[in-house]
Amino acid sequence: MSRLSDANVSLAKEIIGRYPRPKSALIPLLHLAQEQDGYVANDAMAHIADLIGHTSAEVYGTATFYEMFKFEPVGRYVVNICGTMSCALMGADALIHHAEERLGIKAGSTTPDGLITLEHAECQAACTEAPCLQVNYRYRYRVTTGQLDALLDDLTSGALESEIPPHGTLARVRQHIPSDRGVGPRQPEDVTTPPPWIPEQSGAPA
């Protein structure tokens, strides 16, 4: 829907400034757009294209490769239930079916009130804690159907609002490189000598 806000544009410029090539900032900027609107809006992609000096088509091309980016509004909470082997062995299918019945939607869709999107996800790197799920990429481990019900109740009542930010927000801490401490990126073509801590090659074998 919208372009990046002024605050996000300055964040975007800070992120772009860390890379030798602006396009490397593309995925972090798409996350920024998703954090702002809950999904990646077309205008945001056009704006990002301007910021990194590429075409909208290139931005769209990259964005659509990655599963986490949504191009239409999704629920405030995206519930990803893992269905890969370890979780499947420990009952993930039953958990997904239970969630579908309880929410009255199929995995891959959003409740009519726009609160919860249910997804069948792939391995989330918590295999010893199977079956697991993520709500906006926050983990829940060894989930029973009873715990799933309790979780959905809490999401509906707003009890988890402080713990789980709306969809789109990942880390709540951002990296900031202080200007007096950062080395700054250099264009690869401008660098022809080894870094200062490496002695110049004197022709001796390494």
Binding site: I27, C123, W197
Partner: protein
Amino acid sequence: MSAAGPTSGGVTYPWTPGFIAGDRPQIVTSRFEHEDSYTLDRFLATGGYDGLKAALARTPTSVHEEVRSATVLGRGGAGFPAGVKWGLTPQGVWPRYLVVNGDESEPGTYKDRLLMERDPHQLIEGCLIACYAAGLSQCFLYIRGEMALAQERVAAALNEAYAAGYVGRNILGSELSVDIVMQWGAGAYVVGEETALIESLEGNRGMPRLKPPFFPAAIGLYGQPTIVNNVETLANLPWLLRNGAAAYTTIGTETSPGTRMVAVSGHVKRPGVFEIVNGTTTFRDLIYGDEFCQGIRDDNELKAFVPGGGSAPWFVPDQLDLPFENKLVSAAGSMLGSGAIMVMDSTTDIPYAALTLARFYAHESCGKCVPCREGGTWLERILQRVVDGHGAPEDLDLMLEVGASICPGAFPHASSERVGLETAVPFPYKMTTICFVGPSAYAPINSALVLFRDEFEAKIKPRIRIPVAVAGA
């Protein structure tokens, strides 16, 4: 920040969910017992950045030599020694980059996320040691998109480390000046492949590059020499520099020194993440040992297990006594991969278990190579209909045929007394794709079909042949 640890459905979990310590050497998990293990204060109070100081007191070449002589095997899956990898950069080509692979997403694998969430400074210190030794002037730390907490902890740790002078310009007053830039992904398994990771870092679709001829060490990020190392590999370096290669190689065996982080999941009594002694610990120890998983749930029989992540061909009880050693496991028909063991007990529906992995790889194919894009999808569809009870008798051989178009020739498998397979076909396989996603879709299906064909046949209903009159006969 809550003081009690993460809670889920009213249950409070330990600070390091899944991790189980024991009376074993700890190289990378030594701080996990501390609630505040991810803070700079705790890190500095427990030997933090001492490895970096030890490195800075020596020449880069001698640090490289130390790592090379310790034979630190890559912990990402391929098991290539880090010291050798660092030496593959072409002479006199600058700048060189370090890319940290924290895109952990191999089914069954759960270790790098813990190392990033629970000890981010250890990883940062490892990155700096690598940069110093190999002359890498900028580091990009790529964390999987779905790992919000790991991103938060690493970002906070980097901010602390910059402020305290451990990262950035003239680190600890030395000539070493390195920026570490945190990058995060957005959900794509294939980006764990090193050239796909580089593509993603350049802002492109995460599709692997054709290699050989040029590996990232020669032509990588922005066309420059690039070292791509796994999180756990780099996390080993601070300890190694503090204690020396001689101490490192006293743990484990000559060919597989040190420790490894291993996640054992599935039908065991006590699933968990363990730091084990490399090379000597056997699968039987891990699955049945008291200090590890304590046996199969409900005291069922073991049916099969995946020894090295979803991509690895399966083992059966015949292979339980193999140690965690690359060469022996390869000879037995599989791979150690990323340290992920998934255990199936006697109640497991084998075709269904194979489907949960085949579906994963079909879903995660990037679409660049036809055998994987088409073959993976077809393998999933055929297997799905067999599992659903709609399979045709020809379907089993059809899956082998599709698999052979991804991996021509004999595909690695284990030996099995139960089905009369006396010898194993050793790892690796031949492949018609650029990366391992395609073969990985086939590996679970091939294993399941070779070792448990009877279970597939039981799912196929016999066809009723209707006699048809042929004209003119």
